[in-house]
């Protein structure tokens, strides 16, 4: 019986420790609490080990997924063929668009999008939980990576950096429920917010609930919310469009372009989120002159070309 009592005491002690830890972590701000230092330490210690183990087993894992894919290959082949036809017809008009785009861009003095600096990284590990969609990559602050930088691969947006150590970083994947991004539809320019739903489709909420949406509309990032993401990174395409409810929201599902089950090489975009705009200071020495009052035509006399140039007047 002595052992059983000992077990109860130990149970009580460990439960208490857990509750204290939960409280500490819950009350400390995200990414800055004392336990987050522990997380960073663990990432930097385990990173190299995970890297080594991952490079050993990656080929095995690839075979495993390839076997699973055998059945869907024919379908995928047909789809890809159709897609090639579609794209070929579109390529013809691209040259003209590119030239026009370049000219307009010069006129506007916009930042060149393709000039984004990136660091190539390798995925070394995933999060341990089935409810958090994160990866660990093998670049860190030594390579210029900072928190909140965007992570992309050849297909589009992968996620956002949430933790940085000198040699490794953790990335929150775009499908994680904690992920959110400002986006724009390429066809109409409508803006909205995109949230992860934990695998599968992402959820889009357009600013205008009545915005005209079509299945297949492409979604790209927009440089709002202090520019967390550079504008124009492809994210996905609209897959399902629900009905507008009485509270003016509707479920719009967006299928991401990135295959999150096969993240191998990714790129961190070295684009710092924009600092907040400086406050506008009004110089009191400059006198503010009220604008000249518009000459208003009196209703009694008809406007003549000589006196007041009204919008309706003929030349």
């Amino acid at each position: 019986m002595y052992g059983r009592r000992r077990a109860r005491v130990l149970l009580a002690v460990l439960v208490l420790i857990s509750l204290v830890l939960i409280t500490i972590d819950f009350r400390s701000p995200q990414g800055e609490g004392p336990l987050d230092r522990g997380r960073e330490l663990l990432t930097s210690v385990l990173g190299p080990l995970q890297d080594g183990l991952g490079s050993l087993v990656r080929p095995i894992g690839d075979v495993f997924t390839d076997v699973g894919d055998l059945f869907s290959l024919r379908d995928e082949n047909d789809q890809l063929r159709a897609r090639i036809d579609q794209l070929e017809s579109r390529t013809r008009s691209i040259g003209d668009l590119e030239r026009e785009n370049e000219e307009l861009r010069e006129l506007l003095g916009m930042r060149e999008r393709s000039g984004l600096d990136v660091v190539v990284a390798q995925t070394v590990a995933f999060g341990p939980s089935n409810f958090e969609w994160t990866i660990t990559i093998d670049v860190g602050s030594q390579n210029g990576v900072e928190r909140d930088m965007a992570v992309v691969n050849g297909d589009g947006l992968v996620g956002r950096v949430i933790q940085v150590t000198p040699t490794a970083a953790r990335v929150l994947l775009a499908i994680d429920p904690n992920f959110s991004a400002a986006v724009r539809l390429t066809r109409t320019g409508a803006v909205g917010a995109l949230d992860g739903r934990g695998g599968g489709l992402m959820r889009l909420e357009t600013l205008n609930p009545e915005a005209h949406l079509v299945r297949g509309d492409e979604v790209v990032t927009a440089a709002y919310s202090n520019g967390v993401f550079p504008a124009g990174i492809p994210v996905g395409s609209i897959d399902t469009i629900g009905e507008t409810t009485s509270v003016l929201t509707r479920e719009v599902g967006v299928r991401p372009f990135v295959d999150f089950s096969r993240l191998d090489h990714v790129m961190v975009v070295l684009h710092r989120p924009l600092a907040e705009l400086p406050e506008i200071v009004i110089d009191p020495s400059i006198p503010i002159r009220p604008p000249d009052p518009l000459p208003s035509p009196t209703p009694s006399e008809s406007p003549s070309p000589g006196t007041s140039p009204s919008p309706g007047a003929t030349a």
């Binding site: 052992g3 972590d25 095995i60 089935n130």
Partner: protein, 171 residues
């Protein structure tokens, strides 16, 4: 005693590495097994509630620190609960039983996964849907059942060489 502690720590660390670096490549419908939970169960089945509590707390805390959003301590709490309860059931299980590890791994897989998810959701840290929690828990239960012969067999074989001593031994 020290050798045993070293071996147990090494086993927890190895399994955590497998969990983060290997099993993400071997998912069933997008979900991976919870091998750490299986390890806790295997230790508790073999050595009773005290060892179950200790290993559960250590493994859970490591998993917590590897996560980013759920509060540190949630997984530790759930895992130590699993370790304790499985440890208490030990006197009622036969050592040679084949069905016991299978049934227990399914139960602990479901309850452990759902428990962590529900606690995280209650603390408002994640926008988890009930459907997602149910799906994940069911798949983890199934996957853990499939892996349980390997994990339980390995743990038993290794721990037999480093038996728990004195007060640590099961009541």
């Amino acid at each position: 005693m020290i050798a045993r502690m070293g071996v147990v720590s090494l086993m927890i660390l190895t399994v955590a590495l497998l969990q983060t670096a290997v099993f993400p490549h071997l998912t069933i419908s997008g979900f991976r097994p919870d091998v750490l939970l299986l390890l806790v169960m295997a230790f508790a089945m073999r050595d009773g509630p005290i060892v179950g509590l200790r290993v559960g707390f250590a493994a859970g805390l490591l998993a917590d620190l590897l996560m980013d959003f759920s509060a540190v301590g949630i997984t530790a709490l759930v895992f130590l609960g699993v370790g304790y309860i499985v440890g208490l059931s030990r006197p009622y299980l036969s050592d040679e039983s084949i069905s016991a590890p299978l049934v227990l791994s399914g139960l602990t897989g479901f309850i452990g996964t759902a428990g962590v998810a529900i606690l995280s959701a209650l603390l408002g840290e994640q926008a988890l849907s009930l459907q997602l929690i149910a799906q994940a828990s069911a798949v983890v239960a199934l996957y853990n059942v499939l892996l349980s012969p390997i994990v339980v067999g390995t743990v038993t074989r290794i721990v037999d060489r480093f038996p728990a001593q004195g007060l640590l031994a099961a009541p």
